[in-house]
Symmetry: C3
């Protein structure tokens, strides 16, 4: 399976063109769009989001990842292997957290710079012209080493292991942080947007209109309001800081 993690949007031409390339180059491989609205042009929050959601897919999955504000410049193109999954995308920190967690779990973390080049490479759409054909080849079973050479990727040692910021606002207005629930005390309160928010297991366990935090279905600390949009009512956006207060 090829999984798309991008900031392309679905309605416009980008996801469609990438899907057309994958369909042509690897017709029997199913393609699933996981995120088409990853934090636009922001590799740092995207890196925490990707690490949390990629872990849900089985080993062997190929993830085509494009949050790429430096496209057309001199940033390199990577194939990263981590915990049995293959990631294709730009060398801009997008794979920092995936690689770091693979390192600490000693389950791979191999990086290669893509050396394969398509016949035509546009300056602004490497997702279609470079990353998609490479992802299709990997999904068909071609080896990374036939398209790429070993390299050390850019590393971002100053990024924390868990990011105490909002990294994604979902369709309901719920706000995901870059913190794994397993690193936070179950009784901690979360402080953000001037509010102190207590934990709850489900929406329906607090009164309507009440804010709550919980560990979401992919393991991230998430802030919501029962029956309302947390983003608007609390004033949260990607990058909003979050603090923990352990009682």
């Amino acid at each position: 399976m090829i999984v798309l993690f991008t900031d392309f949007g679905l309605a416009g031409p980008y996801t469609g063109q990438v899907t057309a390339v994958l369909q042509r180059e690897a017709p029997s491989v199913p393609v699933v769009s996981l995120f088409a609205d990853a934090p636009s042009g922001m590799p740092k929050p995207s890196s925490y989001l990707l690490a949390a959601y990629a872990a849900w897919f089985p080993a062997g999955t190929v993830l085509l990842c494009v949050v790429d504000p430096g496209v057309g410049g001199d940033r390199r193109a990577l194939i990263a292997e981590a915990a049995g999954r293959l990631y294709v995308g730009p060398d801009n920190g997008l794979f920092e957290i995936v690689l770091r967690r693979a390192d600490s779990a000693q389950v791979g973390g191999q990086c290669r710079e893509i050396t394969w080049l398509p016949e035509k490479l546009s300056a602004s759409f490497h997702g279609r012209d470079l990353f998609a054909p490479v992802a299709a080849r990997l999904a068909r079973g071609e080896k990374p080493e036939t398209m790429a050479r070993s390299t050390a990727p850019m590393r971002f040692a100053d990024w924390p292991d868990d990011l105490a910021e909002i990294v994604y606002i979902d369709h309901y207005g719920n706000a995901m942080t870059g913190m794994r629930g397993e690193t936070v005390a179950a009784t901690a309160t979360v402080v953000c947007g001037g509010r102190t928010i207590a934990p709850a297991r489900t929406f329906s366990s607090v009164p309507p209109g009440t804010a709550l935090w919980y560990v979401n279905s992919n393991g991230l600390v998430e802030i919501a309001i029962n029956g309302g949009r947390a983003d608007r009512l609390i004033g949260l956006a990607i990058g909003s800081k979050v603090e923990l207060a352990t009682p």
Copy 2:
């Protein structure tokens, strides 16, 4: 075919993860997203919308339906059979209108409570963890009784047979009501947002900027403005009341 009727949105992670589960569990069954923007967290308007749109699909279709504000609480999970179609989703009224119409047409209306449990069940994403695997099994031909036991679903006898409210705003700003066109006189006028709106067969049969109502392609009374967005220009949202005036 598996048809998705949800309030998940398409761009974020929810539809993608559900699609990945269906792909894994029933790889040869096509998946179509019918609505990913059903009225968010509102089973009542969603129930009228679902009944109108499900009827367009042939018998044998499996509909995976998730508008589920009570997820993780004590609401039950259902498989409903009605008019030869199978519905999987929460017991919160979402299937009320489908079941009621199947009852009155004497074409089934059998309900079962899902007793099958996945290995891992998150508190907030039963669409992925419970409903999708059950829908995949049904689409593969497994019988409902192997996963569920007969039950009486929650019923909402005070809901009308046709809902004189806006239940959906589409991409063009057209506003669908929960009223079937066949229950409304063809010459009736619709009163909403302080306006009295006359019927017309097509957009192009009224001058630009004029409001009209018509029976849409799935049988619902719908309000629009030729060349404009009815939601903004008339001030309509999900839940806005509509009145009929028969001349």
Copy 3:
């Protein structure tokens, strides 16, 4: 492959129902949504957008194109052949630029009026009821002449070959014009929204916050701001005029 070019939106019921028809009528043919947010109800800008993006697909592709404000009125339904691709949609100018470019390149430009009629034809959703079944039949290999008779389509001789207006705003807020890059001097400046904008090859070659224009990956002149949304910051929308100033 069947490619969708519509103003339907993806989340609501229209793309899903069209996809269900294609799946049923041509189950082995992949369907890709290229645009679901073409300029809503505006065949003129859509025509330039379609011509630029259709050219990327190989000969033999069937394009199902629905930007159709006159649906249900007396506008005709067409199958157009141009440069080896087949287009299905309304006779309202949507194919004007595709046909004109095929004429000038002497690579076809044959038009037929669809005479085939489905059993049921709604007044408001010919995309589902008429165009999708015809597209599916073409994708299965049926000949246009079995469903349609030769005709001269409506022509719009007063439309320019390249449109100096914004024809699309993408997910990032970048604004595409209807001008092919090959018709514009590489050193020209673009004037719009009261600003004079210089060319650049990539986003990262100008400082953050700076506006630039470039030839996008499908050959159109596009206006953007490095790290920002050009639509909001410059005040651009579909239909905004653009002027060229050649130094």
